[in-house]
Symmetry: none
Subunit: 202 residues, 4 copies
DNA sequence: CATGAATGAGGCTTCATTCAT
DNA sequence: CATGAATGAAGCCTCATTCAT
């Protein structure tokens, strides 16, 4: 049963496994984005791949697990980007611009062409999402430094910033073609200077 | 059919009907807010009342119908409030303050005690929601008047304002006790002057 | 509570009761004929009257009972007719003609305008139907007298005759306007002389 | 995926599938014959097999579909038999004998042991049944040739013949053991020469 | 590991029947 | 007796998950 091509075979196997896993994840991401968790059936997901229904369970223990994996995956892909921007940025404007560009590009890559966008989940539904929220809060407080009043409500500040990013991101995805850089410029202005200022510029 | 208490009888019946209808609506509102449309089963809803499963269908034709009724109901309760604020308000600040206070009080009344808040639905999932979006956009453009640049992206502006309201509202609901007026003051400042200014004040 | 018009009142009540009972029976007959027993709901029946759903149960103990009542009713209306024809008839041809005319007129009165006709029930599903079957068998053997061979299969003979009547009756109901007398003439010829003979005449 | 028993494996699977499908069909046929379409629940059907409720839907999309499949199946098994008899037969008697024997044997195979027989559906409830009706009508007119009067009512003739076959078939199924050949001989005589002649012979 | 049929819990909904008024 | 809302069993069907091959 073991031949001289074992290594190659094992390699091919590993490749196939990785390919299958990615295929399932991609199909699930699309499906969840378009229809929401409950409306998606495991069969919807595997029907979008060339695999059989049972195979799903060789890669994920349950439908819930793939959803969590997906959310964690998104958050984990997003966090390094945000961290990198935080590291590079010298001031609030630079950081906001970098982070929002990163986020909007991420949205386009992840959900571009989708009718929907990322599921609008409660802000802290998963640990990964909570982590992102905290990450942003810390970056924000760090950069603001002593321009942050002692009693300032950083949770509200963070929520406001995230709200702007989320909703403008959703609008952006609905346009053809989506323009992440333009959206980021707009969001930066809105966050930094407020709505009247943002309205004054084309 | 001919007792002297006919009126009272009919009245009691009508009262019971109205009470049951409200009980079902309230249970559904809670359930949808906490778990989302798909995750809620009709049995979840009626189990939260003291009625029997079949009774649900004496009041709503389907699970979908009650969801629509709920969304329409919320939007229809919200729109007059927003309109009234628009009529009263002379400038942007007054309008924002009134509208946000109205919205946050509405949230507390509607979802106070709930773990969650209103479902984060896509911004224009239902006609009623679209209508609210447009209502806000129009108020915004109307009040800004010629302080709105010709090419300004009013959809982004509206989305940003709604995003702030939604996410700060969600944060507010999570606090005990929720403070809608405080949240409104904060949101007004954030929207009007931007994040750095909002951060500078306790 | 008792007035001088008690008799009149009682009379009106009895009238109303009879009217209601007939209304329910008529609605049920139509419904069963058009949709079949199981497909008809009690609400279908009472919706076709101006009564309330609970009222149904003041007149019939259950849906099954009204179906039985209906079948019994039909059989009981049919049997006297058949008996009368038997009494009048001097020979087979006269009896067949009378009985078939009676049956086909009965069908038109009972189911005319209906899309369907009487439910095609098993020949002996109810006692009343069994009784009709036996009634016909006895008339047949009585009239045939010694023209009936000793070992003749009277069940088959009866079944054949009934089969002809049922299926030609069904065809007749489908025509506009239905012609019960013509159908009876045709069926008599077919039963008496067989198909080739019946085919030879227009 | 690569064992030497692949063919056998696939074969066994296919066999199981076919067996299950047949088991479901058989159970449904019995149930529909005994209780009629509406009175039969999908659970009745699968309870008569050793399968689980959900399995039904691996084979048929709905209860309606299996009913249609059953009717179509019966008609499709019957029509070739009737056609073959039509091709062989030189005269009316031969054709009637062949067709009725074929039909009665079909009944015994299909519904033998059943308390009931085929559901007495309206003569043309399904396309397949309409097709059988027309098939018989055409054979009849073809064989009668110019022994058919110009204005003869071929629909009535066909209905009469089918009525005889249906009701005598029902009687036959009720006997133990059923005698399809005897029933066919009887029915031929009745159809060809009429009731008095049929009565004269044992 | 892949396959895909089998499983059975559970979802939505209908409906015969009861009962307070 | 009439009314019509309440009841809960039962129907059809979907789906996450298991398992033999």
């Amino acid at each position: 049963m073991s031949s001289s091509s074992d290594v190659t075979e094992a390699g091919r196997r590993a490749q196939t496994k990785a390919r299958n896993r990615e295929a399932i994840l991609a199909a699930a991401r699309r499906a969840f984005a378009e229809q929401g968790y409950e409306a998606v059936s495991v069969r919807d997901i595997i029907r979008a791949t060339d695999l059989a229904s049972g195979t799903f369970y060789n890669y994920f223990r349950s439908k819930e697990e793939i959803a969590r994996a997906l959310a964690a995956d998104a958050a984990q892909r997003l966090r390094p980007l945000l961290r990198a921007e935080r590291a590079k940025a010298m001031d609030l404007e630079a950081w906001l611009g970098g982070a929002l560009r990163a986020y909007f590009h991420f949205l386009v890559e992840e959900y571009g062409g989708t009718a929907a966008g990322p599921p609008h989940v409660r802000m802290d539904a998963t640990p990964a999402q909570r982590a992102v929220f905290e990450e942003i809060r810390e970056s924000l407080t760090g950069i603001l430094g002593d321009r942050l009043a002692p009693g300032a409500d950083t949770a509200y500040l963070t929520a406001g910033a995230i709200g702007i990013a989320r909703y403008i991101g959703e609008q952006m995805l609905r346009r053809a073609p989506p323009d992440p850089d333009g959206a980021a410029r707009f969001a930066v202005r809105l966050i930094l200077h407020g709505l009247p200022t943002a309205a004054r510029e084309g």
